[in-house]
């Protein structure tokens, strides 16, 4: 586990994400695209109809969130991660098209993890329930597609030092599985314990 955060700037190349390991603390800078349930369903329809996507996934990071309304003077309302598994049926479509990262919370399916390893994409966890703090890292926000979906519209966010942890790396690491094994009663303080 990295003691100091790793600073990454989007768009990300394969070389940027290859050194990342499960449990690494990362600060993301640059652009994140927001999309959740309804936006993913529409992107799938767009792909099937041969229409362009709201953004080119190549090198980009998608953030699974649906923000609350912003108070005047704020770029974005509170915006924490939503449960990523609901996007599992759609994620491989974007990963195959060059997506390099996803930010959410909760476990991913075997199919998604396999697709990430095959095409080169990592899954980051953000701490759900820290929506007010995460929104502070968002400096600018624009709706780029599906405005009629309201909170579920696709937004382009410009972020600074957005705090995430690597959950699934390119090598089969899984923070949820490993973290739990390390701290299951009986294992604390053994070789599984943190240094």
């Amino acid at each position: 586990m990295s003691p100091e955060p790793i600073y990454l700037h989007t768009p990300l190349s394969l070389e940027d994400i290859e050194p990342l390991r499960t449990g690494d603390v990362v600060r993301l800078n640059g652009v994140l695209f927001t999309a959740r349930d309804a936006a993913h369903a529409r992107m799938k329809e767009a792909i099937e109809a041969g229409e362009p996507l709201p953004f080119d996934p190549e090198g980009h990071v998608v953030y699974f969130t649906g923000p609350a309304p912003a108070r005047p003077g704020h770029a974005l309302g509170p915006a924490g991660p939503t449960t990523a598994s609901r996007m599992d049926p759609y994620s491989p479509l974007l990963i195959e098209r060059g997506l390099r990262g996803m930010v959410g919370k909760g476990r991913r399916s075997k199919e998604v993890i396999e697709s990430m390893r095959e095409h080169g994409c990592v899954y980051f966890g953000a701490v759900e329930g820290t929506a007010a703090l995460l929104a502070d890292c968002v400096k600018e926000a624009w709706v780029v597609a599906y405005e009629d979906l309201g909170a579920e519209a696709v937004r382009r966010l410009l972020v600074e030092d957005f705090p995430v942890v690597v959950v699934n790396d390119l090598y089969g690491g899984d923070l949820y599985r490993e973290g739990r094994e390390r701290w299951r009663r009986g294992n604390e303080g053994t070789e599984f314990g943190e240094p």
Partner: protein, 280 residues
């Protein structure tokens, strides 16, 4: 007969929606601070520190501490000597939700049917459970219930022969299945007894009890302690990153049931535990 104007109900419902979504209850904050002290994983402690910091920022700025401002669930204890004037209590509550979610900059998350997923645009209808009580009081308890953790909740109709051991296993299995998805550290509401829907409703109501306040029945209080200990042995930890603090509290509510039945419902609430209460 005591008369209460529907407009007063609307006013307090508006305030409850904003309060529940912007200020964590004191008892829940204390539980989080205790968990921070007891958590043994460094990453786990970092997660809890961020949660506490987030709660402070949200309360200072009066913004939602979680973007999922939830279903607006209300438990209404209405005295038999109370009459609402001006409109029906149901529409007075919906109007309060409409205003609270708009004026409080809260997200509108309700769609008009699971099939036709058009947003109702104002977070109505509220989910309202009425309980008639004696007297002239009116108590409203709001729970802003996030969907991430609600989705990981479960109900099972156990048999009397399977009994208590199966009930305990089911509670722990539900939390293991939820893992990181329900956003631990959790508050766990457990309802046992009644027919099918009663167990689910008890589990939800159990979440509104002040965090960690034991059931007055000593047997159920022991069961709560035992379940909390077993849940925290799983290692899931804060945010599911691994740790010793998977749940902050387990609240069990029980109700009479049928000679053939042992229903058990487990309703999970994430670390953004949003509840507020007022007596008119």
């Amino acid at each position: 007969m005591r008369e209460i104007a529907a407009s007063s109900v609307t006013e307090v419902v508006r305030d409850l929606c904003i309060e529940a979504n912007t200020r964590l209850p004191h008892d829940h904050l204390s539980a989080l601070r205790r968990a921070l002290h007891e958590e043994r994983s460094e990453l786990g402690r970092e997660v809890i520190e961020r949660l506490l910091e987030n709660a402070e920022v949200a309360s200072e700025r009066c913004i939602a501490f979680c973007q999922d401002t939830g279903y607006a669930v209300f438990f209404v204890e209405m005295g038999s000597g109370v009459r609402i004037t001006g409109s029906e209590i149901r529409s007075a509550i919906d109007e309060g939700v409409r205003r609270g979610y708009e004026e409080g900059y809260l997200r509108k998350s309700i769609v008009r049917s699971p099939i036709d997923r058009t947003n109702t645009g104002d977070n109505t209808p509220a989910i309202v459970y009425y309980e008639p009580v004696p007297g002239e009081g009116l108590k409203l308890t709001m729970l802003a219930k996030g969907a991430g953790c609600d989705n990981m909740s479960a109900l099972r109709m156990l048999t009397p022969a399977e009994g208590l051991p199966a009930m305990k296993r089911f509670v722990v299995e539900t939390i293991e299945r939820a893992g990181p998805n329900a956003s631990p550290p959790l508050t766990v509401g457990v309802g046992i007894g009644g027919p099918f829907e009663k167990a689910a409703q008890l589990a939800k109501k159990a979440l509104t009890r002040p965090s960690g306040e034991p059931n007055p029945d000593p047997e159920l209080a022991d069961l709560e302690r035992e379940l909390l200990d077993e849940i925290n042995a799983t290692g899931i930890g804060p945010a599911g990153y691994g740790g010793t603090q998977t749940a902050l509290a387990v609240h069990v509510e029980s109700f009479p049931t049928h000679i053939a039945a042992f229903p058990v419902a487990v309703n999970l609430d994430c670390h953004s535990h949003r509840t507020a209460s007022i007596e008119l």
